[in-house]
């Protein structure tokens, strides 16, 4: 696979800036990984290599930390990530029906990205807004009191 040099240089620059922001301190590894994951979409292999080299931490260790935390993505994602709350209080408030409806609407299974690369559907643990459940996040936006009939409108807002 050929990697576009321009993209790769941008990637390295982005990672370097983030590491510099945290002064390359070993204990800041998790905030660094989170930020790289947010800005680049996920921790790609080249990004992981860059982090390992700059911070003098073995690649296996960087990967072991990155893969431990749910919000650090180690696989590529679609343009938009849906995080659907799968915890009991949302489930009890009608979450099951919405969950089924969303899979039907997007034609994806949990953990997968849609064929057109637009959506990745994931589950999240409790977002702490249980009283307005069922709840989901689309990227950084949070939606509560969900009903299946609202999904088309909500998802339609995203390009």
């Amino acid at each position: 696979m050929t990697v576009n040099t321009k993209d790769s240089k941008d990637m390295v620059k982005t990672v370097d800036l983030i590491i510099d922001e945290f002064h390359a301190k070993k204990e800041e590894l998790i905030p660094i990984l989170m930020k790289v994951s947010q800005e680049l979409g996920h921790i790609s292999t080249p990004a992981l290599e860059q982090i390992s080299e700059r911070m003098h931490i073995p690649q296996s260790q960087v990967y072991s930390v990155a893969s431990f935390y749910r919000l650090i993505y180690t696989k590529s994602t679609g343009r938009h990530v849906i995080k659907f709350c799968e915890s009991a209080p949302c489930h009890v408030a009608g979450g099951r029906e919405v969950w089924n409806a969303i899979q039907k609407e997007l034609k994806v299974k949990p953990g997968e990205t849609s064929a057109d690369g637009k959506w990745t559907l994931t589950t999240t643990s409790c977002l702490g807004v249980c009283a307005v459940g069922p709840v989901m996040m689309v990227d950084e936006d949070i939606y509560g009191n969900l009903r299946p009939d609202q999904l088309t409108d909500i998802l339609g807002k995203y390009e």
Binding site: E27, Y69, A88, R96, C126
Partner: protein
């Protein structure tokens, strides 16, 4: 700059002046000078204290003594007693007023808002609104009047127990951290509120962040910590942002940083975000996460108060524990201890969720019963259905059925009943809930969040989940219940941390109280609550169906056939029991069997 051990405010309202307050002020200054106290006691005038009809009046800080009806003749005696001997002069004190806290203790409203007192009342992004509500007065009192040991003593006497769930004496934890030899100490605020159904901490972090901040600064002073961290889960981005604003403002106002309140005490802190791992709410896993490692718990001892963050003595407390501290300092430990039960003092916030009418946050004194919480404060069950159970304490808590409704809520009694306090989540379940499905749900959560370090938790919870899944899919075996019980004992005894040790609780409590449901699933292949998809079927009632075709058009697998205005039929072989047809039908014609 000069450091005064006492400040006196003399009311110079026109009414008080008319009664001679200027002479009182002069006389005070003269007498203090005579006794050599001019460098220690500062006297100022203030536009208004409030009881001018009883003037002249003065306020003495830091104690807050309010003297009224003073004459010049009273002053020498007052100065001698109050400032030289440190004794208030009772005959000159204002008669006691009804305490402000009284308004919170209305017997008719069951709630008492201590931790939540400012939530929804102030703008959390404006420190001055917090100060207007007596904010940072406790910190001022502590720094100008109390030694660190005295602060620890006050917290111990209040009976405050860790609000994160473990319920360990907060004062004791601070003492242990302080007593560990060393120069460097840390305090941490555990804001990794991951229990599904719990959002009390989020509300406080977003609605009244300074109450937590003030509590942390007081704790740092008591323990001797120079640096602190607030570990907040990344799923709470607004809470993180609001807290960072609060920190910034506190720094601007000199309440964080060097020489706070002009004293030798310096302290600062930062926010550290989690990254989506529930187990990082466990204190040793939290520490590992701040250190940049996998969030895996480690055996204790040594406890964090001896060896914690970066190997130094560390005190980790919950958001709510800190938020209680300023009020305990201001109102006194006796006030706090006057609420609650014998071993569980004070109030607790709870998050009511699930099938209850008024979901949201409540704060009640310990000792209130579950019935009062659900019906009096929570308004009863949604749609007036019957009550089935209440799940308390998060995913490692148990489910308590009807016979426990009159249980007074406190740490010991919840444990004895087979559940836990946890951080305060309460999920109410109505008669249409399947308890096997609920147990499966919580075990799935625990399985997902298990860090994987120890076998009993990693493998044990997986086996439990497999069994529960089989049962809900109609493939239960006769010895499944025994197997679940056996696994539960082993997982509880042998897991490394609280997550594993508590993992069996949902299973054990549901088997204990709802064994018949398990048996129906296993032996009769029936789900009495009609929830488990593999054990139910959807049918259309020909008497109610009008043939509107709405169900057929919405069915994701096209298993419904029928012509317009004619009765429709569901094909049971294709039907996936998603429930969409029942939801869209306006005639109640879809039955679940």
């Amino acid at each position: 700059m000069a450091y005064f051990r006492s400040n006196v405010l003399v009311c110079s309202d026109p009414e008080c002046i008319g009664k001679g307050s200027e002479k009182i002020l002069e006389s005070l200054l003269a007498e203090l000078s005579k006794k050599g106290l001019a460098e220690e006691v500062k006297v100022m005038d203030t536009p208004r204290i409030g009881d001018c009809d009883k003037g002249p009046e003065i306020l003495v800080y830091p104690e807050g003594y309010h003297y009224v009806g003073l004459t010049v003749e009273d002053i020498p005696f007052l100065v001698e007693e109050q400032f030289l001997k440190g004794r208030p002069v009772n005959k000159l004190l204002a008669p006691p007023k009804k305490e402000e806290a009284q308004e919170l203790r209305e017997p008719t409203a069951k709630e008492v808002r201590v931790v939540l007192r400012n939530c929804g009342k102030i703008n959390p992004e404006n420190i001055e609104e917090y100060i207007a509500e007596n904010g940072y007065a406790a910190l001022a009192k502590v720094l100008t009047e109390k030694s660190p040991d005295e602060v620890i003593q006050i917290v111990k006497e209040s009976g405050l127990r860790g609000r994160g769930g473990a319920g360990f004496s907060t004062g004791m934890k601070w003492a242990l951290t302080r007593d560990t030899v060393g120069d460097v100490r840390y305090i941490i605020c555990n804001a990794d509120e991951g229990d599904p159904g719990a959002f009390m901490n989020r509300a406080v972090l977003e609605g009244d962040p300074h109450s937590v901040l003030e509590g942390m600064i007081i704790a740092a002073y008591a323990i001797g910590a120079q640096q602190g961290f607030v570990y907040c889960r990344a799923e709470y981005p607004i809470a993180v942002k609001t807290f960072e604003i609060a920190i910034k403002q506190a720094r601007e106002y000199g309440l964080l940083g060097e020489h706070i309140f002009g004293t030798d005490f310096s302290f600062d802190l930062e926010v550290r975000q989690g990254a989506g791992a529930f187990v990082c709410g466990e204190e040793t896993a939290l520490i590992a996460s701040i250190e940049g490692k996998r969030g895996e718990p480690r055996p204790r001892p040594p406890f964090p108060s001896v060896r914690g963050l970066f190997g130094k003595p560390t005190s980790i407390n919950n958001v709510e524990s800190y938020a209680n501290v300023p009020q305990i300092i201001l109102n006194g430990p006796e006030w706090f201890a006057s609420m609650g039960t014998e071993k569980s003092k004070g109030t607790k916030t709870f998050a009511l969720a699930g099938d209850v009418k008024k979901t949201g946050l409540i704060e009640v004194p310990f000792g209130i019963t579950l019935r009062e919480i659900i019906y009096d404060v929570g308004g009863g069950i949604k749609n007036d259905l019957g009550f089935k159970a209440i799940q308390t304490g998060g995913p490692m808590g148990g489910c308590l059925p009807e016979e426990f409704l009159d249980l007074p809520v406190d740490y010991e009694r919840l444990s004895q009943a087979g559940s836990i306090m946890g951080s305060g989540g309460m999920v109410v379940l109505d008669e249409e809930t399947c308890m096997v499905d609920i147990a499966k749900f919580f075990v799935k959560f625990i399985q997902d969040e298990s860090c994987g370090k120890c076998v009993p938790c990693r493998v044990g919870t997986r086996r439990m989940l497999e069994i529960l899944t089989r049962i809900t899919e109609g493939n239960g075996r006769p010895d499944d219940i025994d197997l679940l019980e056996q696994l539960s004992v082993e997982i509880r005894q042998d897991s490394l941390c609280g997550l594993g040790q508590g993992a069996p609780n949902p299973v054990v409590s549901t088997i204990k109280h709802f064994r018949k449901e398990y048996e129906a699933h296993i032996n009769d292949k029936v789900c009495p609550a009609k929830v488990c998809r593999a054990l139910i079927s959807y049918e259309i009632d020909p008497e109610k169906c009008v043939g509107c075709t709405l169900c057929a058009r919405n069915c994701p697998v096209n298993c419904i056939s029928g012509e317009l205005k004619k009765t429709h039929v569901i094909d049971p072989d294709i039907c996936i029991r998603c429930g969409i047809c029942k939801q869209v039908c306006n005639y109640g014609a879809v039955l679940v069997k």
